[in-house]
Structure formats: C-alpha cells, structure tokens
C-alpha cells in the first residue's frame, strides 16, 4: 500500500472511532490494530501480542511518574488558601497598570506555572479564583476569559513542564536544558499578553471598570506578604532542580512535600483534604498516562508501517527550505491540534518530526519549545481544546463565545512562535549557560 493510501486508511479510522465518541485511549489502540491488520495484513495474534506488550511496558517509566506527582501538588495548592492568596496578593500590585486586575490572570498563571507542570491544572486553579472576582467587579468577560485561556497554557512552557518531560524522554534530549529553554519564551508570551491587555483597555472603553481603586503602597506590601507561600514553593521546587538536590523527575515530590508542609504550618492540613486530592489526582493521571501508553502503541504501529521514515523522506524530497519544513510542521500541528490533545500529539509526532527538524538543521532543544507552543495552541482550538472546556465550565457561557474570546491570545501565541523562529536565541540562550 502506498504512503498516501495508508495515510488515508489511518485518517478514516481515526475519524470513525474518535468521531463516534470512543474514549480516546481505546480509539488510538483501535486505529493501531486496524492499521496493522488492514495495511500490513498482520495476523490478529501477532497484533494482540504487540498491543498488550507495548501498552503495558510503555506505562512503566520513571520519567512518567512526574505526571501524577505534579498533578497531586497542584491539587493540594488548589484545596488550600495558597491559591486565594495568589489573587489577593497580586490585586494591589497590578491595580495601577491599565487593565488592572485582568493582569492577575497573566501574572498569576506565570507564577503558578513555575510550580505546576500542567496547563490544565494552571488554568483550572488560577481561573477558579480570578474569574468570579473579575466578573463581580465588572471586567470585560471576553478579556477575562481569553487572557486566562491563553495564560493557562504557560503551565507547559514555563518550567517545570510535563509536556517537556514527555518530549525529553521521547526525543532523548536533556530535560533540564528543555526546562531552561522554555523560561524566556514563557516570559515573552506573558509580556505579549499583558501588553495586549494594556492596549485594549486604552482603546476599548469598558474593558476595565471605571471606579478601580488604586492601591496604596502599604496595601502593595501586604500583597507581597500574601505571595510568600507560593514564592517559597516556587523557590524550593526550582531550587531543588538547579542545585542538584533533586532531578527534574524528583522535583515534583519535593513540591508535594513542601505543599503539605505549608498546609501544616498554616493550619489547613486535614486527612480529608489529602485523601480528596489524592483521588482527584489518580483519576486525572490515569487518564493522561493511559493515553500516553495507547499513543505509544499507535506510534509503534506507524513504525511497523514505516510511516515515519516515508513521511520524513517525502518531506525531505520536497526539498523545502528549513523554514518551509517548519511551516509545514506548524500547519500540521495546528490541524492535528484541533482534534487531538497535546500529549497524544507529542507522542504521535515526535518520532516523525524530530529526525526531520534535525535534518533541516534545527536544535532539538529549540524544537522542544516550538512543539510546546504548538501544544498550547491546540488547547485553544475547538473542537478538542481542554482549556476551552475548563473555561466554559468557569464562565458558563457557550463554547462559541469562549473560542472567540481566546482567539486574540491564540494569535498572540502565533506571533510569539514567529519571534522564536526569527530569534532562536530566545530559547537557546539560557540552556547554553548550563
């Protein structure tokens, strides 16, 4: 079967199973089984042995363990006043900037992203606090929800990051260097977002309520005090990585320990809180890890079909310039990202994309940052956009309006990507210092 025919078979099966609403982990395995059966004519016994072996052994991974541990840490923070203090502390500080409290979304997500490895956890945790407060005070709904949708994705770009751990494992590049590479682009995106909020609040009357009280210097100082717990957590998690105390995979455990200690010192510790957060954690991480295991089998099926090699050769034969390769990949990711979640997208494409971009002369560390931004984009595009769903749950307006609100921030992410392509040093400068 030719490359084109094989790809069409795979796409049709994906549309059939995923479109019909089959749970994605099962759908990915079915597509893999179907591809091996139809395209390669393997017998069913061989396919079954491959599927069980690959799914079961790809879930056994030291690096993967960071996922449940990071999610647990985020959930503990969410269940205590550490997260409310974040808003309380930021409010007076941003009150003098045009756009006022809208910046709590951007700065809150940036800070929270530095302790959490997940973008969903960042959006949900920060949003549950800021959105009701912003709407209560009469801020523009579109700006409030769009800036959160956009800034929530920093969870993946600003270290620590689950997406980077997964990419680092798959592409065999240093996870510490990847973490360092994401920091500057993450801060750049935060500036772009805050800049946009400032510009809009000048242009559009009513974006910000008229009667915002400007905080006194004293109130600002008290705000800083409120930020202490989260800054301590941030310093200890990142400090443990960069001092060599803990490896990137172990840092999440340090985060959990510190978060629990903070709840003990602030009198918020209870067995019930810990049990509740544990149960939420294993539910979400079972979903994510099973998805990764299923996607590993699909990747293996693609390798049996020699698809990665053939697609790589096909794109290589197009004799594209390096920028051409990037543009093709970016378009591919934006289309894929509409239908597939970021984790599956990473595991499915890395075996194909990484050899390609290395051939085109790009640094695999730099590409890791590029890929993470593509994943962030995918969280903002319908029909499958996890951040959109989370926001929809918070604001209770329709999906259409949520998508519209997120659009400017989607475009700002694209602008950021272009800057990253033009100035690769944005990503590569910091890891070069390590």
């Amino acid at each position: 079967m030719s490359l084109v025919a094989a790809s069409i078979v795979v796409l049709l099966m994906m549309a059939l199973f995923l479109g019909a609403g089959v749970w994605i982990f099962a759908g990915l395995i079915m597509v893999g089984v179907g591809a091996l059966y139809i395209v390669l004519d393997f017998d069913l016994i061989r396919i079954g042995t491959i599927a069980t072996k690959v799914v079961s052994s790809s879930a056994v991974s030291w690096e993967l363990a960071a996922i449940p541990v990071f999610i647990w840490m985020g959930d503990i923070i969410f269940r205590t006043d550490i997260s409310q203090r974040l808003f309380r502390g930021l409010s007076p500080i941003v009150s003098r900037i045009p756009g006022g409290l809208l910046h709590t979304n951007v700065i809150g997500c940036t800070i929270f992203a530095a302790i959490s490895g997940s973008s969903n956890a960042t959006t949900a945790t920060v949003g549950k606090i800021t959105i009701p407060e912003l709407l209560k005070r009469g801020y523009d709904l579109n700006l409030a929800s769009g800036s959160l949708a956009g800034a929530g994705t920093f969870g993946l770009l600003i270290p620590p990051s689950i997406a980077m751990i997964i990419y680092g494992v798959l592409a065999e590049v240093s996870i510490v260097k990847l973490f360092a590479a994401g920091l500057v682009p993450g801060l750049l995106m935060a500036f772009l977002y805050s800049g946009y909020i400032i510009v809009v609040s000048f242009i559009k009357p009513g974006a910000e309520p008229a009667n915002v009280e400007k905080a006194s210097f004293r109130q600002m100082l008290r705000g800083v005090w409120d930020l202490v717990p989260i800054l301590v957590l941030m310093l200890l998690v990142l400090g443990s990585i960069y001092s060599g105390l803990a490896t990137p995979s172990e840092a999440a455990a340090v985060g959990v320990a510190v978060a629990i200690l903070i709840t003990v010192f602030t009198g918020q510790f209870s067995i019930k809180m810990i049990v509740d957060s544990l149960m939420t954690t294993i539910r979400i991480s079972a979903m994510i890890c099973l998805l990764i295991a299923a996607a590993s089998f699909l990747s293996a099926a693609f390798a049996f079909m020699h698809l990665p090699v053939q697609i790589t050769e096909a794109i290589a034969n197009m004799n594209l310039s390096p920028i051409g390769v990037l543009v093709i990949l970016a378009l591919l990711y934006i289309v894929l990202g509409m239908f597939i979640d970021g984790t599956s997208m990473t595991v499915m494409t890395v075996p194909i994309a990484v050899p390609l971009i290395i051939q085109a002369g790009f640094d695999p560390i730099w590409f890791g940052v590029f890929l993470v931004i593509m994943i962030e984009l995918s969280a903002l595009t319908p029909p499958v956009g996890l951040n959109l769903y989370i926001l929809q749950g918070l604001t209770t307006v329709g999906l259409g309006r949520t998508v519209w609100a997120a659009l400017p921030f989607f475009l700002l992410l694209c602008l950021g990507t272009a800057l990253l392509v033009i100035f690769p040093q944005l990503a590569l400068w910091l890891p070069g210092l390590l």
């Binding site: 982990f25 541990v69 294993i282 890890c289």
Partner: protein
C-alpha cells in the same frame, strides 16, 4: 469537563432494572477498591523518592527507586483507569455525538460500547497468556530487588478486567435506559 452536554433524552426517566443495578454496584465497588490501592501506591512512590533524595545526602541509595517508581506509575494507571472511566474523566470527543438525536445517537453509543468491549476482552486474552508464560518461566526484573515479571502483567490484566466490566455496565444501561449521559452512572 468532557461529557458535559445537557440535552436529555426522554428515555432516561425509566427505573433501573435490578440486574443492572447489581452489576453497577459490583463494578463500582471494585473500581473504588482498585482506586484506593492506586492512591496508596502514589503516596508510597512520593515517599520513596523523598527517601532517595535524603539518602543521597549521605552518599547512600536504595538502588531501586527508579524501578519501583516506574512500575508504580504503571500500576496506578491501570488500577485507576476503570474508576476514571466511571467518573467521566476519560476524555472522548463529543463534538459529533452531541448534535445527533434519537436512534442515531443510541446506535453511535452502542457502536462505541461494543467496539471498546471487544477490544478490551481481546486484549485480556493476550495478557492472560502473557501472565501464564511469565509465571511459568519465573522471569524477574534485573535489579537489586528482583520483581517477578508476572506481577506487573497481572496488574495490567486486572485493570483491563475492571475496564471491561465498567463498559459492560454502560452497555447494560444503554439497553435498559436508552442513551444517557455519563453523570447518571454515579451511584
């Protein structure tokens, strides 16, 4: 966050037949037990990682943290999967199905349930053979504390069985109630 559309079919008002509620109860209890074990494993994993970090201060090591934690994350995943499915945390695409109505919608859900059930039972057959083979051969991992390889294989098998049972419950509800939303599956 995924199965959150609210259009209701008329058929869901019917009462639950006894056999369906018994099946539901069995599946749900087993899922909770497995999820509880997962939660305990997660606590142990975090503890083990912290012990390893502290030991390293004193130039000591357990020499097995990465192996045990690696197998731990697999065990958490497979044991908690059925419970996550029951609670509606397993993501699926609803963009197409939410615009469907009536019989088409019912048939689409039936297709999902039947195809996933076949897949899971089929995978269970192969995993059963693997457990048998590893048990007979007595293979272990190559580490300080040799873990018999049939144990992780058996955990995967248990996870598949729980998933299969939960899908069966959904099938039973589809027959007895017609199409309904995931939220109705909570007991």
């Amino acid at each position: 966050m995924t199965d959150n559309n609210t259009q209701e079919d008329q058929s869901i008002k019917r009462p639950t037949p006894k056999w369906v509620s018994v099946l539901e109860m069995i599946s749900s209890r087993l899922n909770r037990i497995a999820a509880g074990i997962s939660a305990i494993l997660l606590v142990l994993m975090v503890g083990l990682i912290l012990v390893e970090i502290v030991l390293r201060f004193f130039s000591l090591s357990t020499f097995m943290t990465d192996v045990l934690v690696g197998h731990g994350v697999a065990a958490i995943t497979f044991l908690a999967a059925a419970w996550a499915l029951e609670e509606g945390s397993m993501i699926r695409i609803s963009a197409v199905t939410q615009v469907l109505r009536g019989r088409v919608r019912w048939a689409t859900e039936a297709f999902c349930i039947v195809s996933v059930e076949i897949l899971i039972v089929w995978l269970m057959y192969f995993e059963w053979r693997t457990v048998g083979k590893l048990w007979a051969r007595g293979s272990t991992t190559e580490h300080y504390l040799p873990i018999p390889l049939w144990i992780p294989a058996a955990i995967f098998l248990v996870g598949l069985a729980l998933l299969g049972l939960q899908i069966l419950v959904r099938g039973a509800r589809l027959i007895s109630h017609g199409y309904d939303e995931n939220s109705l599956l909570k007991l």
